[in-house]
């Protein structure tokens, strides 16, 4: 949501013409950054290292070996099983997000190699309904795990999600069990699963597949937790400690394996996959 706001076309003061924002302000250090510089720097502030949210296509480009990626998602469409309506019908919300992202739901990914290790890479799309997990996201993850197991691939999931999707209610909740259980297909074949937690990862996603990986990595400064900070603040009626629920805090509490800056993410992921995957040694030598 923050990114939308940043890249929204704004009216310039003098003219009446819409121009895209060329400069933006880093929310962490308040430096003025030229947008092209930010993009060239993997959406990381060149001044202070603040990690902006990254789009799913860019994420796949960052992690998959060049030319190796083939999308497997996109064939499963969401339904409206509850005929859910809050201030707006769910079907209309879906249509809006589909138009905005060009994808049927909040997940994108496919087969590829990462450091020459065969992998199935999935990235959750925060720009689509806050990356929330409904039936489609659950189904793509379950299929991804099953396919990875069937084809001898490592599974890599980049999480970015506010949690389970309210508009599919109990069916969203069931995706937590479905995705979790599908991971066992990898266990049976001794295939690795690496989870990369990015800003933000909360709720039913953190409380299911995202934290059940063999290795859990996180980007710096990402908000990661079960309940959102607002809910916790309401419950305990106290201010939250500095850095609470951020990657570095979780690393300190023993809940993550490593906090990895985006510039090192690909190399770190490749090293881990080569060490874990049965064909990793060969990929090393290749």
């Amino acid at each position: 949501m923050a990114l939308d706001r940043l890249f929204r076309r704004r009216r310039t003061r003098g003219g009446g013409r819409d121009v895209p924002e060329l400069w933006l302000k880093c929310p962490a250090c308040e430096a003025q950054i030229y947008k092209k510089d930010l993009e060239a720097n993997l959406m990381v502030c060149p001044e202070c290292g603040h990690h902006f949210r990254m789009g799913v296509v860019e994420r796949v480009r960052l992690l998959a070996d060049e030319g190796s990626f083939e999308a497997t998602t996109g064939h499963v469409q969401p339904e409206d099983p509850l005929r859910f309506r809050d201030t707006e019908p769910y079907t209309e919300r879906l249509a809006r997000y589909q138009q905005k992202t060009g994808r049927p739901d909040a997940i994108y990914g496919g087969t590829c190699t990462v450091g020459r290790v065969p992998a199935l890479l999935l990235a959750m799309d925060y720009a689509f309904a806050g990356g929330s997990m409904g039936s489609v996201v659950g189904e793509e993850i379950a299929r991804g795990a099953e396919r990875a197991a069937g084809e001898g691939r490592a599974l890599v999931i980049v999480a970015a999600s506010g949690g389970a999707r309210m508009q599919e209610a109990a069916l969203s909740l069931m995706q937590m069990a479905k995705t979790t259980m599908a991971l066992d297909r990898l266990w049976e074949r001794r295939l690795p699963y690496v989870s990369i937690l990015t800003d933000p990862t909360t709720g039913g996603v953190t409380a299911s597949f995202a934290t059940l990986a063999d290795v859990i990595l996180a980007e710096p400064g990402a908000l990661i937790g079960f309940a959102g900070p607002r809910v916790i603040k309401q419950t305990i009626r106290q201010d939250l400690p500095e850095g609470f629920q951020r990657s570095e805090f979780l690393l300190q509490h023993g809940l993550l394996d490593r906090v990895v800056p985006r510039s090192e993410l690909k190399a770190t992921l490749a090293r881990i996959l080569r060490l874990l995957h049965p064909e990793g040694a060969q990929a090393d030598g290749a």
């Binding site: 809050d86 039936s135 109990a170 069931m174 937590m176 599908a182 937790g225 939250l240």
Partner: protein, 316 residues
């Protein structure tokens, strides 16, 4: 403390009671009047309970006096021995569990525990577990697997506790682990939603081969109040949110999320807990008997299939 829609029923009941006392005291025969009122009461109760809104059911699900896990282990099971602690940090009073006998066989029972009084509720944290509660539940799952005993879980929580210490100790991590652990059970697993099935904190111990639900319980991804606060930006819209979420036993049966609805006696389980527990015992006995015919591998496959087909998607 009666619910608003229960008032007319309770008033009629107290009138009948007064008439009875009066008749006895004065030695007059009021049996015709009483019989008439009793018929009226029955009609009123039937009407009220046949037309309950979803929001009213949510209120019933929370009514004090409904059977809790500790009531059920006393009345439905025999020889319950409570086991404590997560062997790591603490004993969470919001989740209880232990060994018991059911129809002659040993079983492991685990459930959320709410209090009946404010004091007890504070002790039980209103049935909202910390990570150590789920670790205790996982220990019990291990125990069931090790001895080949059926695993019965009783769900009644507004949700896992959202607090600083819970986050520091990995609330999300243990819920995920508990879901995974229960999914891997090689013994029959039956979950019963008793009252509130609040999100991941409920699901963590509800990955059963069969998931049963009491008629007036609710089970969803979020409570109607929190849903309303987020989507309508107004917690007072909880009634609307309850409708939108389709969170009642019958809704969930239709969605395929639960396998069986356990009927509650007229007036609700909180007014006739013994009869409600009797119905629960019968349903549980039937489901366990069926599951016990399956091998460990078949039980695993059955549970995988049950959850794998959950959801509504369309192939493009």
């Amino acid at each position: 403390m009666a619910l608003e829609f229960e008032q007319p029923i309770l008033e009629l009941e107290s009138r009948i009671r007064e008439l009875r006392e009066y008749a006895q005291e004065k030695g007059v025969d009021l049996s015709d009047e009483i019989a008439l009122l009793e018929q009226k009461l029955e009609r009123l109760q039937k009407e009220t309970f046949a037309n309950l809104s979803r929001w009213q059911r949510v209120q019933l699900a929370r009514a004090p006096g409904r059977p809790t896990t500790l009531d059920i282990v006393q009345h439905v099971f025999e020889d319950f021995v409570e086991l404590h602690g997560d062997r790591a940090f603490a004993d969470d009073p919001a989740i209880v569990g232990g060994l018991a006998r059911f129809h002659g066989r040993s079983v492991v029972v685990v459930g959320h525990q709410k209090g009946k009084t404010t004091k007890e509720n504070i002790h039980r944290n209103f049935g909202m577990p910390h990570p150590e509660g789920y670790r205790k539940a996982m220990r019990m799952m291990d125990l069931a697997d090790r001895f080949g005993f059926p695993f019965v879980s009783l769900v009644d929580t507004p949700g896992a506790y959202p607090g600083v210490s819970a986050e520091e100790r990995g609330q999300a991590w243990v819920i995920a682990q508990s879901i995974q652990r229960m999914g891997r059970l090689r013994v029959p697993a039956v979950a019963v939603i008793l009252g509130e099935g609040g999100s991941g904190g409920a699901l963590a111990i509800a990955v059963g081969n069969r998931v049963l639900i009491m008629e007036n319980a609710w089970y969803s991804v979020i409570s109607p109040e929190s849903c309303a606060a987020i989507l309508w930006r107004d917690a007072a819209q909880a009634e609307q949110a309850a409708d939108a979420l389709k969170l009642t036993a019958h809704d969930l049966r239709e969605l395929g999320v639960v396998d069986r609805v356990i009927p509650e006696p007229g007036g609700g389980a909180h007014r006739h807990p013994e009869r409600a527990m009797q119905a629960l015992a019968e349903a549980l006995a039937e489901e366990l008997a069926e599951l016990e015919r399956l091998t460990p591998e078949e039980l695993l496959e059955d549970r995988y299939r049950r959850f794998r087909q959950m959801g509504a998607v369309r192939e493009a």
